[in-house]
Amino acid sequence: MADRRSLAAELAASWFGSDLPPHARTAFLELAVEREVGAGTEMVREGQPTTGFGLVLSGRVALRLHVPGRGQVTILTVEPGDIYGWSAIVPPYRSTSTGVAVEPVRALVVDAVALRAALRADDALAASLYPRVLEAVARRLDGTRLQLLDLFAGQVEASW
Amino acid sequence: MHGGEGRGAAGAGATTERRFDVGQLTRVEGEGSLRLRVRGGVVVEARLAIFEAPRYFERLVVGRRPDDVLDIVARICGICPVAYQMSAVHAFEALYRVDVDPAVRTLRRLLYCGEWIESHALHVYLLHAPDFLGFESVVALAQADRGAVERGLALKKTGNAIVALLGGRPIHPVSVRVGGFSRAPRPREMAALRPALEAAVEQALETVRWVAGLPTPDLRQAARLVALRHPDDYPMNEGRIVSSDGLDLPATDWEAAFREEQVEGTNALHARTLDGGAYLVGPAARVTLAGDRLHPLAAEALAATGLAEEIRVNPYRSIVARAVELVHAAAEARDIVAGYRAPETALATWRARPGTAAWATEAPRGLLFHRYEIDERGRVAEARIVPPTSQNQAAIEEALVTVAPGVLDVPEETARTRIEQLVRSYDPCISCATHFLDLTVEREP
């Protein structure tokens, strides 16, 4: 376990934390607890209330959807510096995918209820945190669109 | 409909009655079937049924212009599109009194020669000859006599080349217009045909020798014969309708002597003489009724076979008549090409007028009659098209009645082959036959 100071440094160095002003970083750190989980741990579950909002510090979290007939399909992995559990602050606060650590993961995790309360109470925190979360979600949307095009499939032509 | 399920003969009460069902006739153009019931040595039913789907050509041309009609009626038959264009174009020109260039008249004979060569070579070598030698197809025949098949294909190719030169392509040519041709060939293009035509004459002569020697069943069937007859030429585009029993009519007046009727179970109308008699059109009729107008080479070849009389009475010998006409068409084509001079006016101008446009020409399979009513706008108001096969259908059924008792005692398979062979000897063009079924309600009994 790292101490608070080194956690602050890690937060500041991460993609998600680098743009947050000092006040927001401090507020976020105050709410967060450091969590270490082993490979295979389920962090959030598709369709269930999202209990925590996390920033991955190391390791990898696979976001998976259940597709009948195909089982669990990984649609994205969350890499260090990026967040998971954004549904903790977007109604209806239910997870859109199942997040599983595919290798040992160390993350900063904020309790969902506490984070929502803090965001309601602290306008300055909300004003700097929401845009960063929105940016993360927008990048995923962009990526998802490209995935939807299935560009690498190529077009297999008819036999004639 | 496409399966082989109906082809076997089924004996119901085999000792007393034999039934031959040919689910789909093969090596004929189009789709037809055959049913023959023989009881106690007597044929109780002979039915050549045509199930080619109706295409309503006589309605398709209504409202259209004569030049468009020429394109449309060609599609009645992929084997003899020129015949349809010729009967129609002459009908319109007769009504409009179009004065075509004499060279155009000659080119039209050449075009018809091309179609006769193509169609006759197809029938002789690919459809009919395999029967005489016991093969299921020309491909099988080629295993035994590749030289003969190659000769037939060469002839066919030359016929196609003529039609393609004059009309752009062998099937559904595009150049025939009311008044002549949309373009006449250049002398240089015509000259290029000469070597193939020289060879075709030889190939056709060899064809006569070959088919005259084929093992042929004996049959005497004195049918009434009908064909065109022209004062100078072997009949193609022009002449009067004559018959073996003295009929003599202008080419416009077919309806004065013949009528059509519908028979249940078939999509084709049958033509008969007004008194209900059957008759036969086609190569055997032409060779018999106009043999004196054959090209000398063809006349000589016919005489050498000694079969002129047998052609008249034995349908199986129609293949010889067809071969003799191959010689005629190849030799006449060769002469036309050798003496070719481009027409001064390939396309004469004309003025449409209302009235009745009618004409008959000699399709490869026999007399083909067209009649169109032209309205005040110059468009077709009503059409009637009588193809050769519907004229022959009654005669074919009569022949079946004659031949069937003779095959009663041979094995099943042989009997069936023999009967099919007889039908094929008439070269029925079923894809045409069904299309022309114009019997107006007034004429119905």
Binding site: A158, W160 | M1, H2, G3, G4, R7, L25, T26, R27, V28, E29, E52, A53, P54, R55, Y56, R59, L60, G63, R65, D68, D71, I72, R75, C77, G78, L122, L126, L127, E136, S137, V138, V139, K156, G167, G168, R169, I171, H172, V174, S175, V178, F181, S182, E261, Q262, E264, L269, W350, R351, R353, E376, G378, R379, S431, L437, L439, V441, E444
Partner: protein, 268 residues
């Protein structure tokens, strides 16, 4: 290696497209060595109800019986290829869809009740999936040979979908629209015939059906500007591929005009 089994069957048609196979005089026996012709009623008495590696289908579906037969044939065919305008667009007989079918039947047959016929004549692809199409009324022997050769060799047959104009210009023919004002459908019609109509001084009548990107309204405007009556231009479309979607609207208008007054056509 066993030769592929080839079948040739027909529906409502003139037999011209299957005849095209027999018109490949120089290659016919060679083709018969490369494939086993197991069904081809016009050419052989050998019959087979399937299965076929390759089935060539001519003609359009115009009777209830045919609508059933094509489904079974499709089941038997590994590759089903339609040949000709009837099979690919319905053909000239498809013009019946613009008319009263029962009236037509009654006007031709004294006993219309004996005639089984649908009110439509439809392309094969309206009934079953089709693997490839050879266009044309009739199909072009060169394209048929290219198709068979390429299929045997496993390469893609060259069946260009461009305008007739390219072949017309390559052949060195004079454009009949520009030089003579003839209505010619070449700019909207698919190539493959060899551009024979303009070579013979006539406008193309679209027997190969529409090309890709057929600008029918654009051509119609152009031909009218060049002095053709709109109804005459429309009537050009009412031919052998009238049911092809890009042409159908103009074809229907043309037929309606031909059936109505239509002005003074009694001239040339």
């Amino acid at each position: 290696m066993a030769r592929p089994r080839l079948g040739v069957v027909k529906f409502a048609s003139c037999d011209g497209c299957q005849l095209t196979l027999l018109d490949l005089e120089d290659q016919l026996l060679g083709i018969a060595e490369q494939v086993e012709i197991v069904e081809f009623a016009e050419a052989t008495s050998a019959r087979s109800a399937g299965p076929y590696e390759l089935l060539l289908v001519e003609g359009s579906v115009s009777t209830p019986e045919q609508a059933e037969a094509i489904v079974e044939l499709r089941r038997q065919a590994a590759k089903l290829v339609t040949i000709g305008a009837c099979a690919t667009t319905g053909g000239i007989q498809a013009l019946r869809v613009f008319a009263d079918h029962d009236a037509w039947r009654a006007s031709i047959y004294p006993h219309p009740e004996w005639i089984e016929s649908l009110a439509t004549a439809t392309p094969i692809a309206d009934h079953v999936p089709v693997d490839a199409e050879l266009r044309g009324c009739p199909i072009d022997p060169g394209q048929l040979l290219e198709f068979l050769t390429a299929t045997l060799l496993g390469r893609r047959p060259r069946l260009p979908d461009e305008a007739v104009c390219l072949a017309c210009k390559r052949a060195g023919s004079v454009c009949v629209v520009v030089a003579h004002g003839e209505p010619c459908l070449g700019p909207v019609t698919r190539t493959g015939c060899g551009a024979i109509c303009p070579a013979f001084g006539r406008g193309c009548y679209a027997c190969f059906g529409p090309r890709e990107t057929a600008n029918v309204p654009g051509l119609r405007r152009s031909l009218v500007v060049l002095g053709n009556a709109p109804a005459d231009v429309d009537e050009r479309f009412a031919g052998f591929t009238a049911l092809a979607p890009p042409f159908a609207r103009a074809a229907a208008a043309g037929l309606a005009a031909a059936a109505a007054t239509g002005g003074d056509d009694a001239r040339r």
